[in-house]
């Protein structure tokens, strides 16, 4: 019985229920690591440490040329606004209800930025933004969950491409729309058991 979902698992469930079952219930996917993923992980960690205020000069000095360039850009972008970040690597766990059954959404916000009463969810992408960012399930899930935490609709989703050094913003639309979308996908499997 599965009752806990992440943005990624919902994406797979939406696309192909069998693939979801194979991956998350029978646990049939091979654990593969690739270079890009490692690059992404490293930068996530580096940014988080930077925002928390740790001294990362030694680690930065060991990056290769390309990586250093990327870091320089990030540092420039983030330093002036550093103090507005209120959370880093922020895990969330949201309990939801659907037709008298409960399910849970889990995940981790890369960083939460707050300016006055507006929240911006920053998400670091190594290269490309999602194709349809406004409808992308990650956006949907993150919006819904942050709403549940801070009880506000003044939320923006900011996808930041590390290599391109640019970002796009998505505005919060409608909480019901997000909940319905998630419910729709979850219901594909939630009532199977």
């Amino acid at each position: 019985m599965i009752d806990t979902f992440s943005a990624n698992s919902l994406k797979i469930l939406e696309k192909d229920k069998n693939e979801f079952i194979n991956k998350y219930i029978h646990k049939l996917s091979l654990f593969k690591k690739d270079e890009r993923a490692i690059l992404g992980q490293n930068f996530h960690a580096l940014i988080c440490m930077f925002l928390k205020g740790f001294d990362i000069s030694k680690m930065v000095s060991n990056l290769d040329e390309k990586e250093q360039k990327i870091w320089e850009n990030i540092e420039n972008k983030l330093t002036p606004i550093k103090n507005n970040f209120i959370e880093f690597e922020f895990p969330f766990l949201i309990k939801c209800e659907l037709k008298n059954k409960f399910y849970y959404l889990i995940g981790r916000f890369d960083a939460i930025y707050r300016e006055n009463d507006e929240f911006i969810i920053w998400d670091w992408k190594t290269l490309n933004f999602p194709k349809n960012p406004a409808d992308d399930l990650q956006t949907v899930v993150y919006f819904y969950c942050l709403n549940q935490i801070y009880k506000t609709e003044k939320i923006k989703m900011r996808y930041f491409s590390l290599e391109k050094n640019e970002f796009i913003d998505i505005n919060f639309e409608n909480i019901e729309k997000y909940k319905n979308k998630i419910d729709e996908i979850v219901s594909k499997i939630l009532f199977d058991f």
């Binding site: 029978h26 091979l30 030694k58």
Partner: protein, 1260 residues
């Protein structure tokens, strides 16, 4: 808040409620730390919270197992550590690796540190890992380590500490930390950083380790409130798992609330705890005890009981099986039963999984630049299992590979490259693409292309992912400086141990099989608990080794020393706590035990000594045996010293059985326990048979009398209560088996330039010498022998071996030098009964005298007239003679076995010897039993033939007559030497008379024989002769039909090539094909399957496990399947391997209509309807001192004795023994006896005149 309560209470629930209260009062979840014992408990805690909280944001829950907290803490604050490391390198994310990486690093460190002279059997690596783990779990500082080094008087502490320090430096350098190493980093961090938790919850506080407690102590000043739940009687993880008892009341300065749910279960569990601690055996109605002799019987009963429970409505999840011995035998037996079992033990090698095994082998091929010959057996598995290639074609290609390998050194890849077959082309393609890539890339390529990933292999995928993670760790940490082939080697040889962050999937519909600790760790409650192998000593695990001592390394150790008593007490204490916690988790508990483990070794000291049960000494409904008049005297025994001289065939075993029954019923010595009765037999098989007879008579008897050989008893004395430490023995000591002992001697003879054919000589001499040392404190001045002896002793010591003579000498030493041990055994031995007393050695007799020294109830049974081993072993019949003189002597002189004529012959022999002044016999005339013996004055015949061929023909014709007229008769041909056995074996098989060689050889056992033949067939499926031999053996054992036998005999082609439908009707064809293509990665499983297929419903079923284990052990040293099979064939005539002795049942094989051929010596104890004793020449059986030529053997041994016998004395003794030898031969015959000799024999191809033996002329 402090709660002292056990796991049957709602202690955890209370903690959860408090937690929820805090949350609902507005406290941020991030400020509340919850520490639980393991990931499973964490999941349960979180699930409860999730369920109870309303919809919406649950929050950032900080609920961790301790190692989870450590892990996250380090990752969150890594920058601090990285900045503290003073080198220019850096890593952004450290590698939190598994223990495999640490093992690899430690191996390097060990090589760099010189452990001069260290040679304990337990690997240095294992010792260091344990030491390191204990130091970290207990947060021991340097001065604390030093203090303990002094207490333990460790010899290698300096080197060990050096190695550990090197290891620490390397891990820093590599930024690779396993969960134990992470503890150090965690300590460093929390001491530096501010504590963020205002509230701390701790459950299972009794199971925490000092490193956790140090952390709690450190953060206490800034914590607003603690909520701790613990069970003051718990702490099952004391010892090497690192837990300690913590005084939480002192820590929190508050009194603990005790949840007063004193339910029945709690009361019971507490009682058990007290009883075990105080050595009071527990008597419980809720606990049932089912003892068995063999482990297979035990398992059969367990399965029956499970079946019955389920039939009566129980669910699989209501049952848990708890055993410390979760081995292949258990797994295979349970899995065959058809229930769903969930095995929770984790310590296994990765490549025990078949799929992974084959993938690793394929990876070896990919990465092997030198074209090393791959085992064809493995190749077969790869082709069929992994590549799904056609079976018959596989065999053909492998054959091609074997042949071309010898000629051209082609690799298997070269061969398949030339084939135009899609799957091979694919394989070559992948090989070419990935041959220079990382191992992980190769592995993924193989899986993605050849493994069908679906839910049937989900368990395999989990293991594959574990493997992948390990490979990634290595690749990342060592930046690809480890060669692929080395990495594979490393992975194959590491045993995957606990990953504390992983969580067992417990399938709710299956029966859990686990060790006790795991059940406790998971607080796994079930209605029914089945405790298996309760006699096995692994229930009381030892915690000490040369480089670590789990007790002394506890943080709170404050004694200045560590003694034997400490070890016993602490182990007992921990066992008490484990049993206490187990009892809390089950309602109905059943203990199952077996006297013998899988390999036939006796189990000594398990936990069933803590329990006592109503002894139901009810016998079965068999007709009670009425003793004869001459036997009655024995049963009139009322105590004291008694000797029973029992002539051949007088029913001695039956009488001994009756005697034991009388003792059990209290008629002789009053109410004594079975454990106070000691019975010593000569052979292991006799002991086993005796035990089985007692068990059959008293099926509900919980505890059997002590029935063993003297060596079995000696071993027990050495092992019990860790007595061996008083001898300076390592706890790992092992009894060297015959094969290894001979190898050691052989090497020594080589070194000293002595010829190898003196091996037997030196072997016996060493044994005799050890006896001399023990009896007389003597030292020989024979320099050459002394050098051999000293090297031999050194050789034993270096491997932590002792030999069989040491067993006796050491146990004697223990009793002589330790008053408390002597008292213990003398109190225990209320009566001791010895069988075959005439063969008892001096040491054995000393032991018996000592043991029986307090109660003085000693009964020794034997027959002086049948002492036939005293001239070449340590047996001392004179000792028995002396005992007869000073004890109450009972004589059983009625022989029920032999025909009257045979009795006459035997008695005449005795008379004649007396007349010749050969002092061989006691004055015992054999008498028949009224109305029982066959009356036949002519029961024996003697013949003197002119030529050898005449004698042979006579025997053959007589045999043919017998086989025609008395087809169910048993027949024995008794000879003087093994050489003669070969001759007569051939002679008879030439005329198609079936023979049966009686010997203890491995090959004699049908399971060994059949499995070996089938294994050889698998190695070479082209060998038609092998198939024919196999079919003949199977047919003779009635395991295949005559049609199948004929089918096999008529084969023209190798069986697997035979695809004609005519063959499909032959079961044999299917079976052989099945075994040929059945790809078990492990030889154990293959042999087990073959053995089970043919023998699981026969009396040989207990030997299946033994043969499989022998094969497995051989494989461990031979490394390939093919070499293992050759080795099994090579040792076929040995008596045992690694001291494993087959279970034999004298009804095992149908010996009628087969002629049994054996030496006179081996015939003792046996009986036959018809007995032939040919070749009675003076050479073979000499009675003339003048004519007899002493053999070198006999003279040699005298050289090492304190009171050596001169040649005359020796000759006299040998002649006396010859007389007894023929006497034994004669008394084997029930119906007819044929004594014969010829006047000319072929010796080394030349006909020589031979004189008949003197006694024969007389009997004539």
């Amino acid at each position: 808040m402090l709660i002292n309560a056990n796991s049957t209470t709602n202690r955890t629930k209370i903690l959860i409620d408090e937690y929820l209260k805090l949350l609902s009062s507005g406290i941020d979840a991030r400020k509340i730390l919850v520490l639980v014992q393991n990931p499973k408990k964490k999941k349960e805690f979180i699930d409860e919270i999730k369920e109870k909280l309303p919809v919406g944001n649950i929050g950032n829950l900080k609920i961790y197992s301790f190692f989870g907290l450590v892990y996250n803490y380090i990752l969150d604050n890594w920058a601090i550590i990285e900045n503290t490391i003073k080198d220019k390198k850096s890593k952004i994310i450290p590698n939190m690796c598994g223990l495999e990486v640490s093992q690899y690093i430690f191996k390097e460190c060990i090589q760099e540190v010189n452990f001069l002279g260290y040679n304990s059997k337990t690997s240095l690596l294992h010792q260091l890992l344990r030491r390191n783990s204990l130091i970290n779990l207990n947060s021991l500082k340097e001065d604390e380590i030093e203090k303990r080094t002094k207490i333990l008087q460790e010899t290698y502490s300096k080197e060990a500490n050096l190695a550990i320090n090197k290891y620490k430096m390397k891990t820093i350098d590599l930024r690779a930390f396993d969960y134990i190493r992470q503890i150090n980093l965690f300590e460093f961090l929390y001491k530096k950083l501010k504590n963020e938790f205002e509230y701390v919850f701790l459950d299972d506080g009794d199971e925490i380790t000092p490193c956790v407690f140090e952390y709690l102590k450190h953060i206490k000043p800034t914590v607003k409130e603690f909520f701790i739940g613990y069970d003051i009687l718990g702490s099952s993880r004391l010892g090497y798992l690192g837990a300690i008892n913590i005084n939480f009341e002192e820590f929190l300065n508050e009194k603990a609330k005790t949840i007063s749910e004193e339910n029945e279960k709690t009361k019971l569990a507490k009682e058990i705890l007290e009883n075990v601690k105080n050595d009071i055996p527990i008597k419980q109605e809720n606990v049932d005890f089912k003892p068995f002799l063999k482990r297979s019987e035990m398992l059969d009963c367990v399965l029956e009981d499970i079946k019955n429970l389920i039939k009566n409505g129980a669910k699989p999840s209501d049952i848990s099986i708890i055993t410390p011995v979760c081995d292949d035998f258990l797994k295979t037996s349970l899995e065959k039963a058809g229930f769903e079992f969930n095995f929770l033990t984790k310590n296994e090698k990765l490549n025990q999984n078949k799929l992974i095994g084959y993938i690793l082998e394929l990876l070896k091929i990919f990465n092997d630049g030198k074209n090393i010959f791959v085992s064809p057996y493995v190749l077969k598995g790869i082709f069929i299992e992994l590549l799904n290639f056609d079976k018959i074609e596989t065999i053909k290609i492998i054959q091609e590979y074997i042949i071309t390998q010898e000629l051209q050194n082609k690799s298997i890849l070269d061969i398949i490259k030339e084939k135009n077959i899609p799957v091979f082309q694919k394989l070559i393609e992948i090989f070419e693409q990935t041959r220079f890539e990382k191992l992980s890339v190769q592995l993924i390529a193989i899986i993605e292309n050849f493994v069908k990933i679906d839910k049937k292999i989900s368990k395999d995928i989990i293991k594959i992912n574990q493997l992948l993670k390990q490979i990634y760790d290595f690749e990342e940490i060592f930046s690809n400086t480890v060669e692929n082939l080395d990495l594979i080697n490393q992975l194959e040889n590491t045993i995957i141990s606990e990953n504390p962050l992983s969580d067992d999937e417990i399938n709710p519909n299956s029966i859990i099989v686990s060790t006790a600790q795991k059940i406790i760790d998971y607080s796994h409650k079930t209605k029914y608990q089945f405790w298996l192998d309760t006699k096995n000593e692994n229930w009381l695990k030892q915690d000490i080794g040369p480089l670590y001592n789990a007790w002394v390394m506890q943080k709170k150790w404050d004694k200045e020393s560590f003694d034997l008593e400490d070890n016993i007490e602490l182990t007992k204490d921990r066992t008490a706590r484990i049993l206490y916690k187990l009892f809390l988790l089950g309602n109905k508990i059943t203990l199952y035990s077996s006297v013998w483990d899988n390999l036939g070794f006796e189990n000594f000291f398990g936990i069933d000594k803590f329990f006592t049960f109503e002894e139901k000494k009810e016998t079965t409904d068999e007709k009670p045996i009425t003793p004869r008049k001459d036997q009655e005297d024995v049963l009139k025994y009322s105590g004291g010293l008694m000797s029973v001289s029992a002539t051949a065939g007088s029913g001695k075993t039956t009488i001994m059985l009756l005697l034991v029954e009388k003792l059990l019923s209290g008629e002789i010595l009053g109410n004594i326990e079975p454990k106070n009765i000691f019975v010593l037999t000569f052979m292991e098989s006799a002991a086993r048979n005796f035990k089985e007879k007692i068990k059959a008579k008293y099926p509900s008897l919980k505890e059997l009398p002590n029935i063993s050989t003297i060596h079995g008893l000696a071993l027990r004395i050495i092992k019990e209560n860790n007595n061996y430490t008083k001898l300076g023995l390592d706890y790992n000591f092992e009894i060297v088996d015959e094969i290894k002992r001979n190898m050691l001697l052989s090497e020594i003879l080589n070194i000293l330039g002595i010829s190898q054919d003196k091996l037997e000589l030196y072997s016996s001499a060493i044994s005799a010498y050890k006896s001399e040392i023990a009896n007389y404190n003597y030292k020989t001045d024979n320099k050459l022998f002394l050098s051999v002896f000293e090297l031999y002793q050194q050789g034993l010591k270096s491997q932590y071996w002792i030999d069989y003579d040491d067993l006796l000498c050491y146990s004697l030493k223990l009793l002589k030098e330790n008053k408390d041990i002597l008292k213990y055994y003398q109190d225990l031995t209320k009566i001791i009964i010895e069988d075959e007393a005439q063969d008892s050695s001096e040491i054995q007799q000393s032991l018996i005298t000592l043991l029986g020294g307090k109660n003085n109830n000693i009964i020794r049974c034997g027959d002086i007239n049948q002492a036939i081993t005293s001239t070449f072993t340590n047996s001392d019949p004179k000792g028995f003679k002396k005992f007869i003189e000073k004890s109450k002597s009972v004589i059983m002189d009625r022989c029920q076995r032999c025909a009257t004529g045979v009795l006459d012959c035997a008695n005449s022999t005795v008379e004649w010897a007396k007349g010749q002044k050969i002092d061989a016999f006691s004055d015992l005339i054999m008498k028949p039993v009224e109305n029982k013996n066959i009356v036949d004055k002519n029961a024996y015949q003697t013949h003197i033939f002119e030529k050898e061929i005449d004698e042979v023909n006579f025997v053959i014709n007589s045999l043919k007559d017998i086989l025609k007229n008395d087809p169910k008769a048993t027949i024995g041909i008794l000879l003087r030497s093994n050489f003669a056995i070969n001759k007569w074996d051939k002679v008879l098989s030439d005329v198609a008379i079936k023979t049966y060689r009686n010997s203890d050889n491995l090959i004699n056992n049908p399971v060994y024989r059949i499995c070996l033949l089938i294994l050889e067939f698998i190695v070479n499926p082209y060998d038609i002769k092998k198939i024919q031999e196999l079919s003949r053996e199977l047919y003779e054992l009635n395991l295949i039909s005559f049609e199948d036998f004929q089918f096999a005999q008529n084969l023209q082609e190798p069986i697997f090539l035979n695809n004609s439908p005519d063959n499909f009707e032959h079961q044999f064809y299917w079976d052989m094909n099945y075994f040929l293509y059945k790809n078990h990665y492990s030889i154990y499983n293959l042999v087990f399957e073959i053995g089970s297929f043919y023998f699981s419903k026969t009396t040989n079923k207990d030997n299946i496990e033994l043969v499989a284990t022998i094969a497995q052990k051989i494989f461990q040293s031979q490394k390939t399947f093919e070499n293992s099979v050759s080795k099994m064939r090579e040792i076929q005539y040995k008596n045992n391997f690694a001291n494993i002795k087959f279970f034999s049942n004298s009804n095992n094989e149908d010996k009628s209509a087969k002629v049994q051929i054996m030496t006179l010596h081996k015939s003792k104890g046996d009986e036959f309807d018809y007995v032939f004793i040919p070749e009675l020449t003076q050479n073979n059986l000499c009675f003339s001192e003048a004519e007899y030529v002493l053999k070198e053997n006999s003279k040699f041994i005298q050289k090492v004795k304190k009171y050596p016998k001169n040649d005359i004395e020796l000759k006299k003794e040998i002649i006396e023994e010859n007389a007894r030898l023929i006497y034994v031969g004669i008394t084997r015959a029930k119906k007819k006896l044929y004594l014969s000799v010829a006047q000319k024999y072929k010796i080394f191809n030349r006909e020589k005149e031979q004189k008949p033996s003197e006694f024969l002329e007389n009997i004539l």
